[in-house]
């Protein structure tokens, strides 16, 4: 009977205490290390007393639209990961700077990356995925990745845009991004002189 009392107590304590007491593995109990790897048991009962370790995460976009994703998928964003790990059980996680279509794209990216086989090269998939997006969506996705602190998505989107710029001359960059030149003629001349090294052999 005492053992059972201990078990009940352990459930209410943090996962670390569970490890120290060496109790038999209970499918309902999720250790912190498993949680972080995203291998949480699929059989967590609804009445689990560990609300901070859900299997699914609900994300809320700017328009209050909700997206349900697996924990492992959401962990690719530091903001989402921290919101869950903090144990405040903040659910849904509010992402009020990200609009629904952008969030959907981010989730699609994360899903593909988490589903990737070990050592699988996703460069081609990434290029195709981003190449399909309009310029505005691409840029908003980069901004969202920055806001949600998702390094993989931020790296990918910014590198993609940088690669586009690398191919271009000044006028082409302006055309492509719809930027108006706001230099005076004199300033422009000076600018090109200053940066002439970039064009010299």
């Amino acid at each position: 009977m005492d053992m059972e009392d201990d078990t009940v107590q352990v459930r209410e304590n943090s996962a670390e205490d569970t490890e120290m007491l060496e109790l038999p593995k209970d499918p309902a109990e999720v250790k912190a290390s498993e949680f972080i790897k995203g291998e949480s048991s699929k059989e967590i009962p609804v009445e689990s007393q560990q609300p901070e370790l859900p299997e699914n995460v609900v994300l809320q976009s700017l328009e209050k639209e909700e997206f349900i994703i697996k924990l492992a998928v959401g962990q690719q964003s530091e903001i989402i990961k921290n919101a869950i790990l903090d144990g405040r059980g903040e659910n849904p996680v509010p992402l009020l700077n990200v609009s629904a279509p952008i969030l959907a794209k981010a989730i699609e990216f994360w899903k593909r990356h988490i589903d990737a086989a070990e050592g699988e090269d996703l460069t081609e998939w990434d290029k195709a995925f981003l190449g399909d997006l309009s310029q505005e969506v691409l840029f908003e996705l980069a901004a969202a990745a920055n806001y949600m602190e998702s390094k993989s998505l931020l790296d990918c989107t910014c590198k993609f845009i940088a690669d586009i710029i690398k191919e271009m001359k000044v006028e082409e960059v302006r055309d492509y991004f719809g930027i108006e030149c706001d230099f005076t003629e004199e300033e422009e001349r000076k600018m090109r002189e200053d940066n002439a090294w970039a064009f010299e052999q």
Partner: protein, 160 residues
């Protein structure tokens, strides 16, 4: 962000949206450019010019090409004291990389393209800082003369 999604569906060119609105993202993008592209990007408009001149952008570039040292706060303070990462790249790292890789770089004005656009290669940290110190010393002690010792990196010197 709140930018309307419907708007971009009507018009392929961004309408009511401007890439220059988010300078942090612009900086992230610039950090992934090579040296020459940064020179081109600086000529696009005022906002781009300002972002391209952020030392952090050049620091990211240098970090990619400088090896053999701890690119931590210690290095950063030395580089800043000597004149900043932009100057370091333009005077030392860039020209040395060109020499090492034999890259001639694309001629942006005529649009002619070199075979290798992406300059790959590393310059050692000690070499970079040594060269940079020469430049710094010249500037401090040279009076009205422009620092010229490092010109040998970009222009051939006749030593016959």
């Amino acid at each position: 962000m709140g930018t309307s999604f419907a708007a971009e569906e009507e018009h392929d060119k961004p309408h009511g949206y401007n890439i220059s609105d988010n300078v942090d993202i612009l900086a992230e993008i610039m950090s992934r450019l090579d040296g020459r592209s940064l020179g081109v990007a600086a000529c696009v408009c005022r906002v781009w010019y300002a972002v391209c001149n952020r030392d952090s952008v050049w620091e990211a570039l240098c970090d990619r090409h400088v090896s053999g040292g701890d690119a931590g706060p210690g290095t950063r303070s030395v580089v800043r004291a000597l004149g900043g990462y932009r100057r370091l790249y333009r005077l030392c790292v860039g020209p040395v990389l060109d020499r090492l890789t034999g890259s001639t770089g694309p001629d942006r004005w005529t649009g002619a393209r070199a075979d290798s656009v992406e300059v790959r290669g590393n310059v050692s940290l000690s070499l970079s800082l040594s060269l940079f110190s020469i430049d710094c010393y010249e500037r401090l002690s040279g009076g009205s003369l422009r620092p010229a010792s490092l010109l040998f990196l970009s222009k051939p010197v006749d030593v016959s």
